[in-house]
Each structure stands twice: as structure tokens, then as C-alpha cells.
Symmetry: C2
Subunit: 193 residues, 2 copies
DNA sequence: AGAAAAAATATGTACGACCGTATTGAAAGC
DNA sequence: GCTTTCAATACGGTCGTACATATTTTTTCT
């Protein structure tokens, strides 16, 4: 029987609660209730709610990074196919909530970046890492002849992540995948050529 | 001496507070303090905080609509120039806060859409109206020969708003206009042709 | 290897602050 | 003189966090 510490339960279940309800709207009591642990455990393991927020952001991004390595950075596939798969995987992650949860990175940016400098710094670092992964993929596409020589890989990488964030946000409002599909279609038809 | 009712003060000052701090993080006491009115006035004029939220969203969008009419829907200018001005005006609105405030429409989508169906419905209506305005502008561009015949105006309109939302969100994280500039550049160079 | 010491984790409860909202009555404008 | 607005205070609930105690795990020493 595998032993799961309370700390881990708070992180994994708390991530779900915060992702669904938003950081400010998810109380510590909501989080420990979802984790099925007593309230004192939260104080024991986290210095503050904000410190907990930073940890679940890292946890979320760890999953994100794993997806990036299976798709964007996966040399076994054609570069642009990797990019498409990455977008699809990101969309698929949101499908289970009817796209209502959005992306935690975007949610935290909207909600917490204004009043927690630590969180904003962390978000900037995460965004930069994603930009870099997309740019690496685009460079591979240039090398493979899927994109023209001289293509602005790093600039377009930023454009792509920005667009995907916006599409994920709009999907949250509308409750369906249409904005993401729309983004994908225009991206591949117009920008990546 | 112009008389400004407490209700109006709560709306205009409260909008600023909520825009800067987020809806959940802005308390009713913060709002009435910024408005310089007693706390009872809030209860007098608004059925609930959520009802107040819907009103400031409408107020924000009223400003937004005015900008759209001066830019996107202004027949005196070339269509694509209108679009560019509209994006610039949107960016300029955020500049004063170092881009940290973001767009209230996006902020509310990220924060409130999940737990207030009324707010989500209102956001959908607002987004549809903006889509329509952009599409009208693009259709004018086609008519003027700035875009090819058969250009997908309504689809691209959605793509543009989605992208601008994402760019505004990323600008909030980074605290500067770079994501918006990046978006604009790629949009006009690749998508609008 | 086993006991003692130390550290980390678990748990229940409590605190003070702040939340959104209610209530009551005075002031004011048509 | 009736209706709307203004104003002050209060209420019950929830918030993030603190704290005292119990239990488990890890480390250290003989």
C-alpha cells in the first residue's frame, strides 16, 4: 500500500480546486477538504497560501513540461506536426471541464500577477521556457524545410503562445473548443508558411 | 457645481479598483473607500457585489464601444488603418498601469466566468459584439481592396480578438507592451493579406 | 542492532481580521 | 409628503493563520 503524504494530497487536490475555482475563490478550507486532510496540515506544510500557490504553479508546469517534451521537443516527429500535437494536447487537457478551467498559467497571470510579485516572476520564467521550446520546434521546422529560411522563429514562438493563451481564455468564456480550433486553423494556414 | 451621486462614484472608482486588484481581491470596503462614500451606499445602490460587477463590466464596455466607433467603425479612415488604431487605442488604455491591469473583459473571463453564469453570459454577448465590429472592418477592407476577395472576415475577426486578449494578458505578466507589439506585427505581416 | 534523541508530520481547535450584507433612521429632492 | 438617496453601525459567517499536542519517521550514538 503506497503511502501518500498529506502534503502531496494538498498539492494535487488543491491544484484541481484552484484550477476550477480560481486562487482567490478557493479557500484553504476548500483545499484541505478536497484533499481529505485536517486543516492544520496546510499550516504545517505551507508558509502561506501564496507559497502554496507558487508550489501548485510549479506542479502544473511540471505536467506542462512533460507534454512539451513528448510533443514540441520530440525529434521523432515532423516539426510542425509536433507543434500541432502540442496545441491539441493543451486543448485536450481542458476538455474535461468543458474548457471552463482555462490554463492555470493564464489564470494566475490574470488574477495574481497584479498583487504578488513573486508569482509574476515565476510566471515570466515559465512563459520564457515555453517560448524557448516553441522556438526550438520552429527552428527544426526551418531546418526540415517546412518553413522558409530566415523565418522569425523566436518572434513567432511568442506570437503562438500568446495566441494560444488568448484562445484558451476565450474557450473558457464560451465553454467550447471553437476559439482554439479557430486559432489553430489560422495559425497553420497563414502564419506558418 | 456638478453633483455626482454616490452611485456614480462607486461605479467609476470601483471600476478602477477592481480593474487593478481583481474582482475577488477588491473588497466592498476598498471600493467605497476609493469612492469616498460610506459603506451603506453600496448596499443602497447594488443588490450584491456580483450585481455591481455586472454594472462595471457594462461601464467598461461602454468605453470600449466608444473606442470601437471612433476606430474600427470609422468610415473616414482606411479599413486596415482603423484596425491598427483600434489595437493601439486598446494598448494605450493599459499603458498607464504599466500594462499590469490587463483588459477587464479578459480578467473577468479568467476570474469570474467559472462561478457566475450571469457574468459569463454577459461576457459572451460583449465578445460577440466586438467580433462583429472587427468583422465589419475587415469586410470594408475587402471592399476597399486591402484584403483579397473571399477573405474569411468573421473567422479572422475572432482570431484577432482572441490574439489581442492573449497579448494583453502576456503584457500583464511581463509589464510591458512587447507582447502586444509582437502580436500586431505578425498579424499585419502574415494574417491580413 | 537497539535505545535515545531529534526532526518532521499529523491533528483539532482557536483567534483576530475581514468579508458581503442587513438594518435603521436622517436628509433631501421632486 | 412621499420617494429616493445618504449615512452609521452591526451581524453572522468565513477568511488566512497560529498554536498546542500527538504521532510518526529519521538520525545519532553505544
Amino acid at each position: 500500500m503506497e503511502r501518500v503524504s498529506n502534503r502531496e494530497k494538498i498539492l494535487t487536490e488543491g491544484l484541481k480546486v484552484v484550477h476550477a475555482q480560481g486562487f482567490a475563490n478557493a479557500s484553504v478550507r476548500d483545499i484541505v477538504a478536497a484533499a481529505g486532510v485536517p486543516q492544520g496540515s496546510f499550516t504545517n506544510h505551507f508558509e502561506s497560501k501564496e507559497a502554496f500557490g507558487l508550489e501548485i504553479l510549479d506542479l502544473y508546469f511540471a505536467n506542462n513540461r512533460a507534454v512539451m517534451e513528448e510533443t514540441l521537443l520530440n525529434d521523432a516527429l515532423d516539426p510542425l506536426k509536433r507543434l500541432r500535437q502540442w496545441i491539441d494536447r493543451n486543448a485536450a487537457r481542458n476538455e474535461c471541464s468543458g474548457f471552463r478551467n482555462g490554463c492555470l498559467i493564464g489564470n494566475f497571470t490574470a488574477e495574481a500577477a497584479a498583487h504578488s510579485e513573486a508569482m509574476r516572476k515565476r510566471l515570466i520564467a515559465i512563459i520564457a521556457e515555453i517560448h524557448a521550446a516553441i522556438a526550438t520546434c520552429l527552428k527544426a521546422a526551418v531546418k526540415a524545410g517546412e518553413l522558409p529560411k530566415g523565418f522569425d522563429c523566436s518572434g513567432t514562438a511568442e506570437f503562438i503562445f500568446t495566441g494560444l493563451q488568448g484562445a484558451t481564455l476565450m474557450a473558457k468564456a464560451e465553454g467550447n473548443a471553437a476559439p482554439i480550433d479557430r486559432f489553430k486553423k489560422t495559425l497553420f494556414a497563414k502564419v506558418l508558411r
